[in-house]
């Protein structure tokens, strides 16, 4: 490995400060999976299209396969492993399990992260806007779509109930 191109990058992952030494253009996804052993963010297309690798960067859903490590320097990354630490994340993940909103489950974590990021915003994103973002950022091949939408509704109801 060409040591000259490597540098230490500091970031926060699931609330923990970490420093990673890797090539600056190394995709964030590769760092999460290989260096930090957080494998719940999936390898999908590696070109920022399918969304299986979605994580939250300072609370916003991003596709980690298409984001170089240096773009995450000094910022807070949340992966599926850490998503349940917030009320919205826990509500979304539990809703997906309650609705059995998966078949193979490979795309599901990316969808959970997208939905969690959008539902955590103030004011919360509307259902229609969440679906519009899913259209742009997440793919599912097994056809779990109808269940994903039911899980979305359940999570929104849970959070609305919790706030009421």
């Amino acid at each position: 490995m060409d040591e000259a191109n490597e540098s230490a990058v500091a970031l926060t992952v699931n609330g923990r400060a970490v420093s990673v030494t890797a090539g600056a253009d190394t995709p964030l996804l590769a760092v999460l999976r290989q260096d930090l052993h957080l494998k719940g963010s999936r390898i999908g297309c590696s070109e920022g299209y399918c969304g299986a690798c979605t994580v939250l960067l300072d609370g916003n859903p991003v596709q980690s396969c298409a984001m170089p490590l240096e773009a995450a320097a000094g910022r807070a990354v949340t992966t599926i492993e850490g998503v349940a630490s917030t009320a919205a994340g826990e509500a979304v993940r539990q809703a997906f399990i309650a609705e059995q909103a998966a078949q193979c489950g490979y795309c599901t974590n990316g969808i959970i992260m997208t939905v969690t990021g959008l539902m955590s915003r103030q004011p919360a994103t509307s259902r229609a806007d969440i679906i519009a973002v899913l259209d742009e950022r997440n793919l599912c091949r097994c056809g779990s779509h109808a269940r994903v939408l039911r899980a979305l509704d359940r999570a929104m109801a849970t959070l609305a109930g919790g706030r009421a």
């Binding site: 299986a52 599926i80 492993e81 059995q100 269940r147």
Partner: protein, 706 residues
Amino acid sequence: MSELPSNLKANPLLSRWISIDGPAQVTVHSGKVELGQGATTGIAAIAAAELGLRFDQISIAAASTIDAPDEGITAGSYSIEQGGSAMRWAAAAVREIFAGAAARQLGAPAEEIEVADGLFRRRGRNETVSYWQLRDAIDLERSALDLPAPALRGGSVDHEGLQRPDLPQKLSGAAFIQDMTRPGMLYGRVLRPAHPRQRLESFDVAAVQAMPGVVAVVRDGEFAGVVAERDELAAKAVAVAARTAVWRTETLPADDGRNGWIDGVVPKSSTTFIADETAPGPIARRHAARYTRPYLAHASIGPSCAVAEWTDGRLKVWSHTQGIYPLKRQLARVFGLDASAVDVTHAHGSGCYGHNGADDVALDAALLARAVCAPVMCLWSRADELSWSPFGAAMRMQISAGLDPSGRIAEWSYDVWSPPHLARPGIGDGINLLAARSLQSPHASSADTDAARPQGGGDRNSVPLYTLGRRTLTHHLLHQGPLRSSAMRTLGGHGNIFAIESFMDELALLAGRDPVAFRLDHLDDQRGRAVIEAASAAASWDASDPGGEGRGRGIGFARYKNLAAYFACVATVEVSDKVRLLTVHAAIDAGEVIHRDGLINQVEGGIVQAASWTLKEAARWTPDGFAARSWADYPILSFSETPVIETIVLAPAGERPLGAGECAAGPVAAAIANAVAHALGVRVRDMPLTPDRIAAAIHALSEETT
């Protein structure tokens, strides 16, 4: 069920199926694998019911050639029908052996022994003895062939409330083969052409070798790959190989989007497999039409992946294959090993809908691992996933029929042309692993094969359940065409049911009958009639609805393979520049229900996937090679395009479970096409029903009427 199930007959040792592990766990070793379809949940629920266990007392072992029964391929909607029935019998036999030991221990007559939660007791008594207490005294190395037929309790545990046990882990962290690691594991990527008829001549080996993290550049004949310390470095290095590669290219026939290339080929065989001798009655009107289905991509979200490890001349592979034993035997042949020197263990992969790249990448990984003497995980790129996973085969269907003066079908002639729908490892005598043909010492793949009737391949579901008068049915099996084709969910069923059920609507129009009534006029099968009636009632089918003005509804029906689940559905659509699928009301009869939510999940997923195939998908090519190399080139159904789905489960009492995983695809395709025709007054007969084709159909109609 009184006959020993075939999969148990072939693997009669009870210890192969079930092990009583301590302190409170029973492990089921099904040879059927989890493909994301939830089959192993159903099989475990069957075992729990027979053993007298709670579902949480069961764990599901990864299927491995080291210790699992050889149940062939996990495909064809047979997991519950065949794998489930074998597991049921094996579990019941184990329960009876343990119940006998419990009776002796408790000093009770065997017929008074009951079991629940893994505890045996004499009826009405409190004293118990468990599977785990009895375990050491019982030998499960016993053959089911030597035991009397056990009493089957039937059913499954908690089939209403059961949840998939694999999902919580999948929805929290590492769970898939891509997440595996082995001590010292390296990462491999393979160089594959961007054109289906291209062979590797050379590439800049030194430039690839000089890339960061590269451990080895592997070349064996026309097979080439890179092994690196990290996956993303292997991917970068192989991109350099691709940029510098020199290829030898053969030309392809042109792709006109309607399978016109079929005109230029001579079929390998043309088999007229039904030719009724009955004399035709008087024919009042005749009608004929031609339909097509393009090649379709599996397009799994996760790229194909395998891990291979060589130790002292023995090969161990982890794979998301559908067939651990066929893959084991094929790998052994490629490497000139005795089959006993190769083991394949299943690991969960991304959604599998048939013969995808799982087996091919296993050979890739084994070749790369052999070169570096270290465990290697090989991963395909998105581009290769969309190009080199075998495709669902292209099809052309030609139907002509005659109606008698009363409007009933009196004559039916059907021809289907299609390249192979079945080219799996283990089918035919060749090696059906992609890299094998490219090696310095190449292995030929099997000659063109297809699934045999009655299940059929290209001719799957080509025989309607309807009463059709005099029938002539011919299957034209083509040689492999421009793209490599093999098994994909329903094989020929999607195309054939699309054609037959579209044509039934065309005939109904000609006969002046409502499409639902016209189907029932020609259908004696009571279970078939029941799903059509249930789906049309759920959709509030209105026979007098004239359709038009961009809104329509249509019905589709079939019994999958004419052997498995019955399925009917009504689709409603809104058609403007494109087709918007609004609702699907479905009715399924899969006999006894093992896992209700699992069944509904398969139906819902099948509906969405079939809508995607039918409205959006076609694997195409250009003179430069594969047309789709990224998701941008191969759109699939999005969340906002999802219809509202209602599923009615008919579960007639006393019927055995029928395979259900694939039953929706064909009827959904036809229901959509029929709804579009109802909305537009003109029919689109070529899939996918894209905006261009809708516009062309509307244009043609307006030309006709002006």
